[in-house]
Symmetry: D3
């Protein structure tokens, strides 16, 4: 639990990250629909920036990405906007929530197409988990999100006692 974390806590807003990209021909299959994989790469990128900012190191590795739905196909020429913010931190793990929006530049129409949770672990130069600053949720929404993520995190941890997860986690 992050209570004993000796580093200063950091608020959620301090590590928020935004990334936007125009969907180009190389992001789509030959029929012109954007590959899920292109979106996943952007999700991992923006989440990495938020995680690295919070951890104070770019030595952060993705350890899991939650189920993600792509019910609304994205077209070439649409702008994809990704917003990442931290949901929760463990001792060395960082849970980042990413919301994906698609904006049609011709109509201005903007819709949320996906959301996804990505978990990172901060490591030292030898690849061992290292402690990260505690996350300090400030708004009511941030506190709720933190609380829910903490419950999921504890449940998962109880289930996987003695599993192969990195020892610091």
């Amino acid at each position: 639990m992050p209570k004993t974390n000796s580093q200063h806590a950091k608020p959620v807003r301090a590590s928020k990250a935004v990334l936007s990209g125009l969907m180009m021909p190389q992001d789509a299959n030959p029929m012109g629909k954007v590959f899920g994989g292109s979106i996943l790469k952007l999700i991992d990128n923006v989440a990495f920036v938020a995680a690295a900012r919070h951890a104070g190191t770019s030595n952060c590795v993705t350890i899991s990405m939650d189920k993600i739905d792509f019910k609304q196909p994205i077209e070439i020429g649409e702008l994809v906007i990704l917003e990442a913010k931290l949901h929760f931190t463990g001792r060395s793990s960082i849970v980042v929530g990413v919301n994906v929006y698609t904006e049609n530049l011709d109509t201005g129409h903007r819709r949320q197409t996906n959301s996804c949770l990505v978990t990172f672990v901060a490591v030292d130069d030898k690849g061992k988990p290292r402690e990260v600053p505690r996350l300090r949720p400030e708004t009511e929404e941030e506190k709720q999100i933190y609380h829910q993520a903490e419950i999921r995190y504890q449940n998962r941890k109880n289930k996987i006692v003695r599993s192969r997860l990195p020892s610091g986690e």
Copy 2:
């Protein structure tokens, strides 16, 4: 259920796909660990090939990707091998299982790093779901996988009756 599907059934082996790629500097963060996003893009690619082969059309769009773990970091210079095979087909949806292996070309050491389920839906030129050939599992393992995927599929379908899923599904 696929029973009423008028097209000929196709065996699992007919659409198996393999893709391999050498992890290059552009696939990694500045610390040299491969981005999860680079692997996710390859997973979506190989799964797409298997789905398109089975459906007999490249008009297949990713509709979901299951939770995926990246507990074992992959290094630049390692070979990533991805094997995709169909688990199950609905009326127009296709569930593809992907296994990801990493091979160190210097030591020959090969380890499974990830596995993931990707679901596609085949669409016609107007983007409406279109029927796909029924999947015919042949080996015992294929039948078990098919059966389990079918149960998950039915459960999810029952849960989301009246949801926003494409009507054909």
Copy 3:
């Protein structure tokens, strides 16, 4: 002056755009310093998003980019953050200001490395200039920026009467 523009005016905040990118090996020369050209490409990208949002069309073409200084080299592994906002609009031209910041993810240190003006013209399907919504500066700073850009724009226009600039300009 845009006074006769029949379309509704849009505030500056409506088209602000942000883009961030991690500098990767392919963005740098073999010595590890990021190519100016990689930054220029990102500047053009983020400015395009702001211009297209304001114009309500992605049919916007870059017509000029102002002198830009790169006095502070950027390193691989640094995060580049680009913020674009409109300065001024003519009848069919859009002047976008871009500020470039570089953030060291390990130290959190952030510095402004560049700023640049990019001018676009919105065109119709035949490539002819088309009218764009008038820009409505709201804050004091936005008004000052608008005023200065307007003076520069009028001076340039007077100098180039009978030049080869698109007729609508």
Copy 4:
């Protein structure tokens, strides 16, 4: 000749490699026909994987690629499948045969479009040729291919005695 090679022989099947890629807009000229150069890059990639696997090192450099014909143009959206297997090994050189197939995902039609021989040499950290395991052909076809490659190899060697080829070859 590989007879005196002290390392264990490896069978052909141990280093076989498969790579598949969907031809995307960036692989083609503006008319939509895939560039020969895009295929050549994939050929070199898959052959490299087979060579590195056999040599037990990724320190393998391409030293020649045989004449290759592209009589059948490949279209964007087609799947290219490349299969590489070793034909022959010299003391430090490795001859890899690559077969290229193109599959139309909409019709399932698959045709062989090219085949090519690529020769690598394994080197040590100083770039000097290093010995590679002997190749052990097992099937009748593999033995014939090996035998023919050996004749070509000896002919070439006789012709170029005292030439600038790396001394170990």
Copy 5:
């Protein structure tokens, strides 16, 4: 023979093409040696430009690339310069010779690393071979090269009478 070609002959110098590229991390294997495949892609590119210029159409497809040797490894950070000029034209085919030089920007040392012949065929919108302007060699060297290429071309044509070569060739 091109004698009956109704279009005006064009001199060799009219279609000469030069391309240069700095070898970047993404062009090399993890050991830092440039992939043969990266050079082959550049060779096909520069030869295409020369062929398209002569043919007066970018509707040119690569039909073969001759054996190429890579005896001198190229390093990341080196500049690769490719020079393409036409050797010979048939009725619709174009033979382009490419010389590849590598320049070390720190020492200024420049060496020829490869040379290669690439053959294109110009096609019309239906993909059928179309006539190209006759090549007019002007210097002694150009005439010799033309003559030798013509002999090779005739020999190959005699050998493959009734083969699957496009009828116009």
Copy 6:
């Protein structure tokens, strides 16, 4: 002034650089017009080659790029040709002029689309400015260009005495 420069002077022709590239789908916005940013990246690339050749080191960093106009849109499928030559050298700075031409491969029509000045500074391993060879203009045109660049350079220097420019400049 370069008079006291101890290194041998080098003529303009010794460092001239040419680069050509075919505009591909990934270089353009979804409407098919090439992004200004793609051209700027090529300009920086070709100018870097000329600067590095003259300086005798690839340790050259872009410090500024002059205002550039893009009045003539470039289409996908057009060939862009960039020619770079030195205009002037200071003690450690190098001013490179780049002319950009666009060639339509189908019509052979070639037009100058842009020109731009890029300034580099050569640095040593610690990033400090290092002396570069003096430029020796030979033709009348080169001398005029040199003279004009020198005046601009002196004016700018006088204006920015005590500014934050690297001390050696």
